[in-house]
C-alpha cells in the first residue's frame, strides 16, 4: 500500500502548477473566456512544447511521458485549481484514450499529433434525448462501400469550437438504447456535412451543437470494433470521469481555502466571522467533503485500469464528488455573503464550475443507480 507520488509525478505537478501560476491567474482567465475565441492557443502550444504535458498518459514508444491515469489526475487537479479551459480532457484523456485502447492502425500518428499540440479532439457523445445513457443514440452510421455515412445531432460538445477532430458515437445496428450495435468514429471537423453552432457555457468553457448531415468517412474512421463499441466507450468515459473527479478536487480545494481566508479577514460584530461556531462547523464539513473527495479520486484513478473494478469505483467516486460539489460550492458562496455573488471575485467562478461538474458524465442519481446495479444486482 502506497499513496505517495514518484519523483517524476511530483515534478509533473510542480511544472504544471508553476506554469499556471505565471500564466493563468484569475484576471487573465476571465479576460480570455469572456471574448472570442474563448481559449489561448499559445497556452496549448506551451503545454505541448514547453511543458510536454500533452504526452503525460502516453507510452514512451508513442513519444509520451510513459504515464497513465495518475498523471492525468495530477494534471487535471492543477487545472481545476486554475479553472483551465483548454481542452486537455477532450483531447488527451478522451481522444487519446480511444486511440490508445482501440488498437487503431493510425493511432500512433494521431497520438503523435496530440502530443505535438496539432490535433485537438472533442467528444461528441451526448444527444438531445439521451440524458446520461451512453447507448441512447439516434445518430446513425450506415455502411457505404468500404466507408460509412453519418447522420445526427450531438448536444453540448465541450471544446468542439477548438477541435480539429470529433470522436462521434453512433448507432450502426440494433434498436434504440441497445447495448450492441454501437460504433465509434473519428471525424475531421472540417469534413463535408459537419456543421456546428458554437456558444459559451455558463462555467466559462465553449461548446457546440454538432450536426452531421450525410458525412462520408472512410473505413479508417472506425475506432474499435464495428457494432461492439460500447465497452470501449464505457472504459474511456470512466477514465474521463476519474480525471474530472481530479479536476473537481482542485476546484473544491480552492473553494475551501478561499472560504477560510475570507472568513478570517471578514469582520462583523467586531470579530472575524470565522470565530462563529456555526460557521466553523460548516467549514469543517466542507473540509471533510474535500478530504473524502480526494480519497475517492485516488481510489478511482488507481482502480480505473482494472476492468473488473473500474465501473463501480468510478461511479462511487462520482457520487462523492457530485455531493461535495454541491455542498462545498454552495456553502462557499453562502459564507462569502454578498461578495460571493459578484462576478469580480474568483469564488463564484469556482462555484459555477463545481455546479457543472456535478452533472458532467452523469448526475449523482445516475451514478448511484449504476453503482447499485453493480454492487447489489438489479432490484426485483
Amino acid at each position: 500500500m502506497d499513496f505517495s507520488f514518484t519523483e517524476e509525478q511530483s515534478m509533473l505537478r510542480d511544472t504544471v502548477a508553476s506554469y499556471l501560476a505565471d500564466h493563468y491567474d484569475f484576471d487573465k482567465r476571465r479576460a480570455v473566456v469572456t471574448k472570442e475565441p474563448g481559449w489561448r492557443p499559445e497556452v496549448w502550444k506551451a503545454f505541448a512544447e514547453e511543458l510536454g504535458i500533452l504526452g503525460a498518459p502516453f507510452s514512451e514508444d508513442l513519444g509520451g511521458l510513459g504515464g497513465g491515469p495518475i498523471e492525468n489526475m495530477i494534471v487535471m487537479e492543477e487545472f481545476g485549481k486554475a479553472l483551465v479551459v483548454e481542452p486537455y480532457l477532450g483531447t488527451v484523456v478522451i481522444g487519446g484514450g480511444f486511440l490508445k485502447h482501440s488498437g487503431h492502425a493510425g493511432a500512433a500518428d494521431l497520438i503523435g499529433g496530440i502530443i505535438g499540440g496539432q490535433n485537438i479532439l472533442a467528444f461528441a457523445y451526448a444527444e438531445p434525448k439521451g440524458r446520461y445513457n451512453l447507448a441512447a443514440l439516434e445518430t446513425t452510421a450506415k455502411k457505404d462501400g468500404a466507408g460509412w455515412v453519418l447522420n445526427g445531432h450531438k448536444a453540448v460538445v465541450i471544446g468542439a469550437p477548438f477541435a480539429t477532430h470529433l470522436i462521434v458515437t453512433a448507432r450502426t445496428s440494433g434498436g434504440p438504447r441497445d447495448a450492441g450495435g454501437i460504433s465509434v468514429f473519428l471525424v475531421e471537423k472540417g469534413a463535408k456535412g459537419v456543421s456546428t453552432r458554437d456558444y459559451p457555457t455558463v462555467d466559462g468553457n465553449r461548446a457546440s451543437e454538432v450536426y452531421l448531415e450525410n458525412v462520408s468517412v472512410g473505413a479508417d474512421a472506425l475506432i474499435g470494433p464495428a457494432d461492439g463499441g460500447l465497452p470501449l466507450i464505457e472504459k474511456v468515459v470512466d477514465e474521463a470521469i476519474a480525471a474530472t473527479c481530479a479536476e473537481a478536487c482542485g476546484v473544491l480545494r480552492k473553494l475551501h481555502e478561499g472560504t477560510l481566508e475570507y472568513t478570517k479577514q471578514r469582520k462583523q460584530f467586531g470579530v472575524p466571522i470565522s470565530s462563529f461556531q456555526v460557521l466553523q462547523h460548516r467549514m469543517v464539513d466542507m473540509f471533510i467533503n474535500l478530504e473524502q473527495s480526494i480519497s475517492m479520486t485516488y481510489m478511482a484513478n488507481i482502480k480505473v485500469t482494472d476492468d473488473a473494478e473500474r465501473a463501480k469505483a468510478v461511479s462511487a467516486a462520482k457520487v462523492q464528488i457530485g455531493k461535495a460539489c454541491k455542498f462545498v460550492g454552495q456553502n462557499a458562496i453562502q459564507l462569502h455573503g454578498g461578495m460571493g455573488m459578484t462576478d469580480e471575485m474568483a469564488i463564484g467562478h469556482y462555484f459555477k464550475r463545481a455546479t457543472m461538474i456535478e452533472g458532467a458524465f452523469g448526475s449523482v442519481d445516475h451514478h448511484l443507480a449504476r453503482y447499485e446495479g453493480l454492487s447489489l444486482g438489479q432490484a426485483a
Binding site: 465541450i158 434504440p176 453562502q334 454578498g338
Partner: protein, 401 residues
C-alpha cells in the same frame, strides 16, 4: 378549523383570474417570455394597471389605498398572480418604504411620498448595507452631519458608501440608513433619510453578479445635501424604522405561491425530458421522489405561513417566527432551481444570455437561463438577513436561548 373557501372567496378568485387575463400587459408578457432584462418602463407596466384598479397595495391601510382584503383574499391574490406568471411588483416603495412612512412619517411626508409610490411614478431603492456592514447592519458608517445652509434651512451632509442596492440604476429616490451620532451605541445613532437620487454627489456603480446580470449596485455618497425634513421619525431613532422594515421584508420572502408555480414548471419539464431508460424523467424513481419531497416541504411551509397570517389578522403582528418562513422559503426556492437545472442535464450548460430574442435555439426553450437562475438564487439565503442570522433571531427571540 377548516380549509374551505366560502362562495364569496371563490367568486373573488374568479374575479382576480378574469382581471389578470383581460388586463395583463401583452408587451410585458412578451418580454418575460424572451427572458431578457426588463427596462424600467416594462417593470412598471403591471404596477400601473393595478394602481388604476386599486389593487396595487393590498396591505396598506384602507384610507391610503389598501384593499382591506382578508388574509384568505391576499392568499388567493398571491396564488393567482403566481399562477399566471405575473411579474412581481417592485417591493422597494410598496412594501418596504410605505409601511415605514405610514407608521412613522408625518402627515406631510405621507402626503408627499405615498402617492408616487402607489402610482408607480417614483422608483425607490434601499440604502442599507455597506461594504463593512452586512449581517451586522448597525455597524454602518455612512455619516450625516447636520449643518445650516446659506438659505437658513437645515440640511444633512451625507458621506459614505452603500452596497447591494437592488435596481438602484432605475431609482428616482432612495431610503437610507445613516449615522447621525457617531458617539452613541451602534443602534442609537442612526437616522432614516429619504434622498433624491439626482442630488449632486451621488454615484451609482453597477455590480455584475456571478450569472452575468446587473441587478445590484454600489451607491457612493459624496457631500450629498439632504433637507432635514426628508428624515423619517426622530433623529438617531432610525433603527426603529429599520427593524420594522426588515420584519416586512422577511414575511414576504416565503414566496409560497411562486414556488408552487415553479414546482409545476419542474413537473412540466420532467414530464418532457427523458430519463436514462427513455421513460419520462418524472417516472424515474430517484427524480420523482425529490419532486414529492419538495411538494411536502412546500406544503409544510404553506401551512406555516397560513398560520402566521391568521395570527397577524388576529392582531399578533409578524413575530420573529417569520424567520422560519424566510429560511424554509429560500431553501425551497433554491432546491427548485437545482432540480430544474438537474432535469435538463446537458442543456443546463449553454450560456445564451447575449443571444436572447435573436431566434437562437440551443436545446429546449425551458432550459434557457436555468443555470443563471440557480446561480443568482444563491442570494436569497444571504439577503434580507442571512439564514444564519435568521436562526440567531429564532434562537434568541423565540426560544430564549
Amino acid at each position: 378549523m377548516n380549509l374551505d373557501f366560502t362562495p364569496e372567496e371563490n367568486a373573488f378568485r374568479d374575479e382576480v383570474r378574469t382581471f389578470i387575463k383581460d388586463n395583463y400587459p401583452a408587451e410585458l408578457r412578451k418580454a418575460q417570455d424572451e427572458g431578457r432584462a426588463l427596462t424600467k418602463e416594462e417593470y412598471l407596466l403591471w404596477h400601473k394597471v393595478l394602481a388604476k384598479k386599486g389593487w396595487v397595495a393590498p396591505s396598506w391601510p384602507k384610507e391610503l389605498g389598501g384593499t382591506d382584503w382578508t388574509p384568505t383574499q391576499k392568499y388567493i391574490w398571491s396564488e393567482e398572480t403566481a399562477r399566471a406568471d405575473c411579474l412581481g411588483l417592485m417591493p422597494f416603495g410598496l412594501s418596504m418604504l410605505a409601511p415605514v412612512l405610514y407608521t412613522f412619517g408625518t402627515d406631510e411626508q405621507k402626503k408627499r411620498f405615498l402617492p408616487g409610490i402607489y402610482n408607480g411614478e417614483v422608483w425607490w431603492c434601499q440604502g442599507y448595507s455597506e461594504p463593512g456592514a452586512g449581517s451586522d447592519l448597525a455597524s454602518l458608517k455612512t455619516r450625516a452631519e447636520r449643518v445650516k445652509g446659506d438659505d437658513g434651512k437645515e440640511y444633512y451632509i451625507v458621506n459614505g458608501q452603500k452596497t447591494w442596492t437592488t435596481l438602484g440604476q432605475h431609482a428616482d429616490w432612495g431610503f437610507f440608513l445613516v449615522r447621525t451620532d457617531p458617539d452613541a451605541k451602534p443602534q442609537a445613532g442612526i437616522s432614516f433619510l429619504l434622498i433624491d437620487m439626482k442630488t449632486p454627489g451621488i454615484t451609482v456603480r453597477p455590480i455584475i453578479t456571478l450569472e452575468g446580470g446587473h441587478e445590484v449596485n454600489d451607491v457612493f455618497l459624496d457631500n450629498v445635501k439632504v433637507p432635514v425634513e426628508n428624515r423619517i421619525f426622530h433623529e438617531n431613532q432610525g433603527w426603529t424604522c429599520a427593524k420594522a422594515l426588515l420584519a416586512h421584508e422577511r414575511s414576504g420572502i416565503a414566496g409560497v405561491a411562486r414556488s408552487k408555480r415553479n414546482l409545476e414548471k419542474v413537473r412540466e419539464i420532467a414530464g418532457t425530458e427523458r430519463s436514462d431508460t427513455g421513460s419520462a424523467l418524472l417516472a424515474d424513481a430517484f427524480f420523482r421522489r425529490k419532486v414529492a419531497e419538495l411538494e411536502i416541504d412546500l406544503s409544510a411551509l404553506e401551512f406555516t405561513e397560513l398560520r402566521t397570517l391568521a395570527g397577524e389578522s388576529s392582531g399578533k403582528g409578524p413575530g420573529p417566527e417569520s424567520s422560519i418562513l424566510k429560511i424554509k422559503g429560500t431553501e425551497i426556492q433554491q432546491r427548485l432551481q437545482e432540480l430544474a437545472l438537474e432535469a435538463v442535464s446537458h442543456y443546463g450548460a449553454p450560456f445564451l444570455r447575449d443571444l436572447r430574442g435573436s431566434n437562437v435555439s440551443v436545446g429546449p426553450d425551458y432550459a434557457d437561463g436555468l443555470a443563471g437562475e440557480m446561480f443568482n438564487g444563491r442570494k436569497t439565503s444571504i439577503y434580507g438577513g442571512s439564514n444564519e442570522i435568521q436562526r440567531n433571531i429564532i434562537a434568541k427571540a423565540v426560544l430564549g436561548l
